[in-house]
């Protein structure tokens, strides 16, 4: 790799921008025109030539002589390019520092000889440790201010060494410089005969670029699913490992699996793709996959659980306490989480973890997060794949995080393992005994469209023919399983999720399940499919609003019109019409008997045909 990206960190005024500006000027990488612009900007502000203005391009930065936001500058050398990311030293601007540190391969810590390791330096080094930097380069600056440069440098060097040892970070080199004078930046120091070590420029050669984790288990993170005619292309990035065409992969956390039939890098196809590659894949089967899924090989699954323990850096300006609701973004997935516990907060002075009941800005802490949804993640301690995340509060990023451990604990206390057990009775055995396959027939439609009526009619017919059949009726379930749910969007989503989970269990047990739920949101129905992807059918019970309202079996439409019922689907809450249902029953035009017969035929064909194919 020809390019190394390096972040500059250190306290305000340690001279980070000046070091970079000076290096570029000394290496002749600044044009005479630019240099003249620099001189005029400096003299306008009554200062001698200010090298930092090369990076501090904002008017405000120049007027106040500080860096506000990160900047990047390219240094072109014969062997390779360096991209320097200059980060602000101010405590208030840590979001900018962290942004800079998250995009680089290496770090240079700048310490002013007259100030040494300040609290802010400690804090910044702590962030670097949190990012996973195991080594860094140190520049001790402003040696021109020291009366005895050799002695004072030796003192600071010992101090830095001891400090970094506490953080378990190795100093690649500790180099003396005087940026304003250009001493030991690009050219060897003229005034310090005692210094036999490298210039700052020479010491850069020891820095190594970061690479995607080429080894390691396959982690393919799904960004999107594109439809091209009847084909589905699953777009995403390989975070680690190698993806090969012809291999079977498992998509987490839903645990659907299929064989990769092609890897597309338009305009060509490739037999395999590696860490860092962004590709699209085709599968041999239509299994449910959506944005946020992570694919692995079967034997190499990521950790799965409802809780994670992680180290975080808090960026939010408001302090938070356990119980706070947040959103976790990991890979391309977003899940609601709760801050369950603050395990410890690191004290930047002593570098020791201490108990705390709240998190404040720029705290580095170990926390436990819990979620209702299953999270697929890897421990991020060795900087592999799906271990980095951010936490959102509303639309703001309030923390960066790295996973320490995925805790396989489900929502209720007590159970300890979420890995599905392999059943002692195989699905095919049930099919053989029952004489038909299980399946989920998911009826969706407006209130009073006729879902329950059709479902009950078909249940009777199937039962009479000896089929194991069960109807899951939305209204009935709301009196039992879903009694705690209302009609907000979240509750409707949860209502569908739970019902789908029950439908999946019954279908797995060999039942033909007919569910009759409004299930107004397309996204929820698509997720429901994952409860039993082998045999799930979306049946749209279509009825125009006027007809449904005229029927008004339960008197709900009238009350919704009067405003007595809020969030009533079709009146005051939206209904997503299915785009491509597996079957459509039009109860405006056909009788209940006709609709029931068509559904009956459809179920018979799918559940009995399956049997013929599989036995």
């Amino acid at each position: 790799m020809r390019q190394v990206r390096i972040v500059m960190v250190g306290d305000v005024d340690a001279g980070k921008s000046t070091i970079l500006g000076r290096m570029l000027v000394d290496l002749g990488q600044v044009t005479p025109q630019r240099l003249a612009e620099l001189e005029s900007s400096s003299s306008k502000r009554g200062v001698p030539i200010e090298y930092s203005f090369l990076l501090d391009a904002f008017q405000l930065e120049r007027d106040q002589a500080i860096t506000l936001d990160i900047s990047r500058i390219w240094l072109r050398m014969p062997e390779r390019d360096y991209v320097f990311v200059d980060a602000p030293g101010h405590r208030e601007l840590i979001r900018n520092l962290l942004t800079g540190a998250s995009e680089v391969d290496a770090a240079i810590l700048v310490v002013a000889v007259d100030e040494g390791i300040t609290l802010q330096t400690r804090r910044q080094a702590l962030f670097l440790q949190w990012f996973g930097f195991k080594e860094l380069l140190v520049a001790v600056n402003k040696l021109d201010l020291a009366s005895d440069a050799e002695t004072e440098f030796a003192r600071r060097k010992a101090e830095v060494r001891q400090f970094l040892e506490q953080l378990d970070i190795k100093p690649i080199d500790i180099v003396p410089v005087a940026a304003r004078e250009g001493e030991n930046i690009a050219a060897p120091a003229k005034r310090w005969p005692w210094w036999k070590g490298p210039t700052l420029l020479e010491s850069l050669e020891a820095l190594r670029p970061h690479a995607f984790h080429a080894g390691g288990p396959l982690r393919f993170v799904v960004q999107d699913v594109y439809r091209r005619g009847t084909n589905r292309l699953i777009a995403g990035r390989i975070e680690s490992g190698t993806l090969r065409a012809g291999e079977r992969v498992v998509f987490w956390p839903l645990q659907t699996d299929a064989v990769v039939t092609a890897i597309h890098r338009w305009p060509k196809e490739v037999p395999e793709a590696h860490a860092g590659d962004v590709v699209a894949i085709s599968l041999d089967e239509r299994v449910f996959v959506d944005r946020g899924a992570v694919a692995s090989y079967a034997g190499d699954a990521p950790g799965m659980g409802h809780a994670i323990q992680a180290t975080v850096v808090w960026l939010g300006s408001e302090p938070v306490a356990p119980g706070e609701s947040l959103r976790l973004r990991i890979g391309t997935r977003e899940v609601p989480v709760t801050l369950q516990r603050i395990d410890e907060v690191v004290d930047p002075d002593s570098l020791e973890g201490k108990p705390s009941d709240s998190l404040g800005k720029s705290d580095v802490a170990v926390v436990t997060l819990i979620s209702r949804e299953l999270i697929a993640a890897d421990d991020d301690l060795d900087d592999t794949s799906i271990g980095k995340f951010v936490l959102m509060h509303g639309t703001n990023v309030v923390a960066g995080g790295r996973v320490r451990a995925v805790i396989g604990r489900p929502r209720s206390e007590g159970a300890t393992d979420v890995v599905a057990q392999i059943s002692s009775v195989h699905r095919e055995e049930r099919v053989r005994r029952n004489g038909h396959a299980g399946g989920v027939f998911w009826l969706t439609g407006l209130p009073s469209a006729g879902k329950s009526t059709v479902a009950m009619a078909v249940q009777r017919m199937l039962f009479d023919r000896g089929t194991h059949v069960y109807v899951l009726d939305g209204d009935t379930l709301r009196t039992t399983l879903n009694v705690d749910l209302g009609f907000s969007e979240e509750d409707r989503t949860e209502n569908v999720r739970r019902t789908a989970a029950v439908a999946g269990v019954l279908a797995d047990a060999g039942f033909v399940v007919i569910s009759a739920l409004i299930s107004p949101f397309a996204a929820d129905r698509e997720k429901a499919r994952a409860a039993y992807p082998e045999s799930f059918y979306e049946i749209y019970v279509s009825c125009d609003l006027a007809t449904a309202e005229r029927r008004d079996v339960k008197g709900h439409y009238r009350r919704a019109r009067l405003g007595e019922i809020q969030r009533f689907t079709g009146i005051s809450s939206p209904y997503d019409v299915p785009e491509k249902p597996d079957l459509m029953l039009d109860t405006t035009r056909e009788s209940i008997g006709e609709s029931a017969a068509r559904l009956m035929e459809f179920i018979e064909e799918t559940t009995r045909r399956k049997l013929l194919l599989k036995s």
Binding site: Q59, D69, V278
Partner: protein, 269 residues
């Protein structure tokens, strides 16, 4: 300088495609600005790669009517060849923009006004742009996803954090996010990639009679540089040696110290 290897260009390309797909998944409605220059044309090629041959959002030229004739001809040809969903947005006339700006910057302000009109008319929540960090010191401070206020303005002091590849794509109603998938590329990277992928480009970038354009702006505010680079290989060889900045021929960057910052904070690309 070592030659960029294929794997370097692959890495740059993969990152850009990743960003484009994130934008398409998370931000809607979305449009891309296509200046017809080398950068946004290379970006357009990567859009086609990202979406397997498709361009799933409009590509817009902010037209001041002052582009070079070669630029318009190139546009028309590529729209046909690549079947692009192209849109020409005519910018408001010069007498509608801030008269205190230096003359060349007023031109840029027309584009800013055109962009603002486009965004408000189409309610775009995301605008994809082919700017690079190595072009200009103010652009070096940009984020990949950069939220803008409802009037298109940029407040660099309140840029949200952008950790790893978690881009802030949510903006309040009326505001939008600028998406910059080429920030990490350099001018040389773009030309090397253009050569490798055989991407078409406006012929003005090549020298004729000892002069060529290194950066293409409006015809009346962009000047050519002395050059013998008559082929793409020559251009790359020239750039490997030069110290001159790319935008030296762009008048609007140099009229006053804060010219470019003022342009950008008010919504320029």
């Amino acid at each position: 300088m070592l030659t960029a290897t294929d794997s370097d260009l692959d890495a740059l390309e993969s990152r850009t495609i990743y960003i484009l797909r994130e934008a398409f998944s998370c931000v809607s409605p979305l449009a891309m600005l296509w200046s017809i220059g080398k950068d946004s044309t290379a970006l357009l090629w990567m859009v086609r790669k990202a979406f397997l041959g498709d361009v799933p959002f409009p590509v817009v030229l902010l037209d001041t009517g002052m582009e070079f004739p070669e630029v318009y001809a190139f546009r028309d040809q590529l729209v046909r060849d690549w079947k692009l969903p192209a849109h020409n947005e005519v910018c408001p006339p010069e007498n509608t923009v801030d008269p205190t700006l230096p003359p060349a910057a007023r031109h840029a302000a027309r584009k800013t006004a055109g962009l603002r009109a486009l965004i408000s008319r189409e309610s775009y929540r995301g605008i994809i742009l082919g700017i690079r960090r190595d072009e200009q010191a103010i652009r070096a401070k940009e984020r990949i996803f950069s939220p803008r206020n409802a009037d298109g303005s940029w407040d660099p002091r309140t840029q949200p954090p952008e950790l790893w590849d978690f881009f802030p794509y949510e903006v309040p109603d009326g505001a939008h996010v600028r998406i910059h998938p080429l920030l990490h590329w350099t001018e040389l990277d773009i030309w090397r990639y253009t050569r490798r992928e055989n991407i078409p480009y406006v012929p003005l970038y090549l020298a004729r009679n000892g002069m060529r354009y290194r950066s293409l702006g409006e015809s009346n505010i962009t000047t050519p540089i002395p050059s013998d680079a008559e082929t793409l290989d020559d251009v790359i060889a020239e750039l490997e040696k030069t110290r001159e900045p790319e935008r030296a021929g762009r008048a609007m960057d140099h009229e006053s110290e804060d010219a470019f910052e003022r342009l950008r904070t008010t919504g320029y690309m």
